[in-house]
Amino acid sequence: MQDVTMLVYLLMGFMILGSLVAIETADLLSSVICVGAVGFALGVLDLVLCAPEVALTLGVVEVLTLVVLIRMVRTRRDTYHATSHDTLAIGLVTGGLAVVLTLACVFALGGLPAFGQPKMLMAMPYLENGLARNSMTNYVASILLDFRVYDTLGACAVIFAGVTGAYAVLRKKGKRT
């Protein structure tokens, strides 16, 4: 068990470092590539934590995201000022986030169940009885497509609205003349 925990820490550390590099680096293309690496690290983490279904989906979505972002950055010229002038705002944000994080660590996070011992109040009855109702042995798929299909409908509505919205934003003209 110990090795899984260590691996998880390593991957998380890599992800935090990678995101910091992605955010602070001056070149937009390297920054996009870094965030891609972070995404794939999350995929590996999913594999380690027994979520192959999620890892697969995340992987393909990650490829898609990278294609879109690289295309966006590569085809557009931009002069990026690496140093930002708004030091007060940045200080406030950083300070505020640090305070919230510390407070969360000190007071709240200790109350969560320990890593590796989830309370499965809603999931356990489904694991026990789901197979009898829909005969699907992949529980993640059966939750997505039968048990909580209403959420999936919502997700479809989100992506439909997103794509419709992207079309609407990329229209040639907004108003008729």
């Binding site: 295309r71 992949n138 439909f160």
Partner: protein, 172 residues
């Protein structure tokens, strides 16, 4: 006419071979989704990526011949409507739940470990997959064909609706 923009012969040949394999892999992912990792979400994105590969390798004109925008819109709209209809068909009810309800499993289920287990779930999976493939391919074409201000008029992401009703003059 200019030659359609695309990539080198090597890329095109590779694409010709590879895109078929990617599509088959996508279908495998969909089919195995009920008893192993996979399913509609992954299928949709994989198929969209394969189509995007064709688009990038052969250029815009060839891709337009390959897939019409209208078909993409129709596929996306009808498949997502199909998901909603599957939900509404749940109102038909079953012997166990005669009143029926939204998204009720109204089809007979198969046996575990078969591709056709799950009743409505397979249909829902298919609908989600086709919808994602069409939507993502559609939006990727729009995003990658949008050139920005260098050539603001070459792109036409959305077909303009015919201006039948511009009878209200805009006061200046």
């Amino acid at each position: 006419m200019k030659t359609p923009p695309g990539m080198s012969v090597i890329v095109r040949t590779t694409t010709r071979v590879v895109s078929g394999f990617i599509l088959i892999f996508g279908c495998y992912v969909l089919a195995s989704g009920h008893s192993g990792p996979g399913g509609g979400f992954a299928f949709g994105v994989i198929v969209a990526l394969a189509l995007l590969l064709v688009l990038l390798a052969f250029g815009r004109e060839a891709a337009k011949k390959f897939i019409h925008r209208r078909i993409v819109a129709l596929a996306a709209g009808s498949s997502v409507l199909a998901l909603l209809v599957i939900g509404l068909l749940g109102y038909l009810g079953t012997p166990e739940a005669p009143g029926g309800s939204f998204f009720l499993q109204f089809l007979p289920q198969g046996k575990p470990f078969q591709t056709l287990s799950g009743g409505t779930a397979l249909l829902a999976d298919l609908a989600v997959g086709v919808m994602l493939a069409a939507l993502i391919f559609g939006v990727l074409t729009s995003l990658s064909l949008f050139h920005g201000r260098q050539r603001p008029d070459t792109s036409e992401p959305v077909e303009e609706v015919a201006p039948n009703h511009v009878d209200v003059p805009k006061e200046e």
